[in-house]
């Protein structure tokens, strides 16, 4: 029982310490994200299935935003997601042309 408690306390302590460290550095070295990528990412299905050929939904959103991938690349989302992505891209273009 004593070994059990010591193991739980040590590993829990390490995890808490390293978690706090990582959290602090993630906040300190925060990367400003392109708002377009975030908008596209929000309408994707978040299944992280990689059926589009990218490692996950976020790389897929970046690829669509940079026009490296067509708007209908997401297979799981189907036509509904394609429409949403088109709308997001149109809104973004409108906003940039206004400025």
């Amino acid at each position: 029982m004593k070994t059990f408690i010591i193991s739980v306390v040590t590993v829990g302590g390490f995890s808490a310490f390293f978690g706090a460290l990582l959290g602090y550095f993630a906040e300190k070295y925060k990367v400003e994200e392109n708002p377009l990528f975030k908008a596209i990412y929000d309408v994707l299905p978040h299944g992280e299935c990689s059926a589009c050929g990218f490692p996950g939904c976020h790389p897929c959103a970046e690829a669509i935003g940079e026009k490296r991938a067509p708007v209908d690349v997401c297979i799981v989302g189907g036509a509904a997601t394609t429409e949403k992505i088109k709308k997001v891209l149109e809104d973004f273009e409108k906003k940039t042309s206004e400025n």
Binding site: T3, I6, V11, G19, Y29
Partner: protein, 196 residues
């Protein structure tokens, strides 16, 4: 033998005589995966050096001051070492993403995969098994990381030349990379017996 000479021996042994990539076959994933790009290989070399040396220092402290006194070493060693290595890789990833987005892109999936790179866990286990003290552990880690860096640079340089040379179709890409690393490994075997 004096302490300093012993340190030198450990360094030469881990960098050349028991080169971690070419003679112990650890860390082959990023070795083959990233060497088609010189820039990415250099970045990876720095990242792995940083993580290996820091991991060796932190795991030595954990191993010697917590795991061994409380008799936790047999079952908690892998878990706690991986925890340390994973956190350090997370740190490196955050830093590279902020400081060099281009390098972040070039390294792609191999950057988070340093966490599962057997080279780093291998070095920490070698330190633990050999019963090295703190300075010896660090020297062993630096030697192993420099050995890895060297192997990456050698193979990246050779592959850069190979891209412009005429090869049979079935040798192109990873096949010739494996053959070349075999020959380089043979060359490194020449260091065997240098240290008694």
């Amino acid at each position: 033998m004096s302490y300093l000479a012993n340190l030198g021996k450990i360094f030469v042994a881990s960098a050349f005589v028991n080169n971690i990539v070419l003679l112990q076959f650890l860390g082959l994933c990023s070795y083959i995966g990233l060497t088609d790009d010189m820039h990415a290989s250099i970045g990876m070399g720095y990242a792995v050096t940083f993580v290996t040396v820091l991991a060796a220092a932190v795991t030595w402290i954990i191993d010697r001051w917590i795991l061994i006194p409380f008799n936790l070493q047999p079952f908690l060693q892998i878990v706690s070492f991986i925890l340390v290595i994973g956190s350090l890789v997370g740190l490196v990833e955050i830093y590279i993403r902020k400081m060099s987005p281009h390098l972040y892109k070039a390294m792609g999936i191999y950057l988070p995969l340093i966490a599962t790179n057997c080279l780093i866990l291998g070095v920490t286990f070698i330190n633990s098994l050999q019963g090295f003290d703190f300075v010896e552990s660090i020297v062993e880690a630096i030697g192993a990381a420099i050995g890895y860096f060297m192997a990456m640079l050698i193979l990246a340089g050779i592959r850069e030349r190979l891209r412009n040379s005429e090869l049979p179709d079935f040798f192109k890409g990873k096949a010739i990379a494996y053959m070349v690393s075999g020959i380089v490994a043979l060359a490194f075997m020449g260091f065997q017996g240098m240290i008694k």
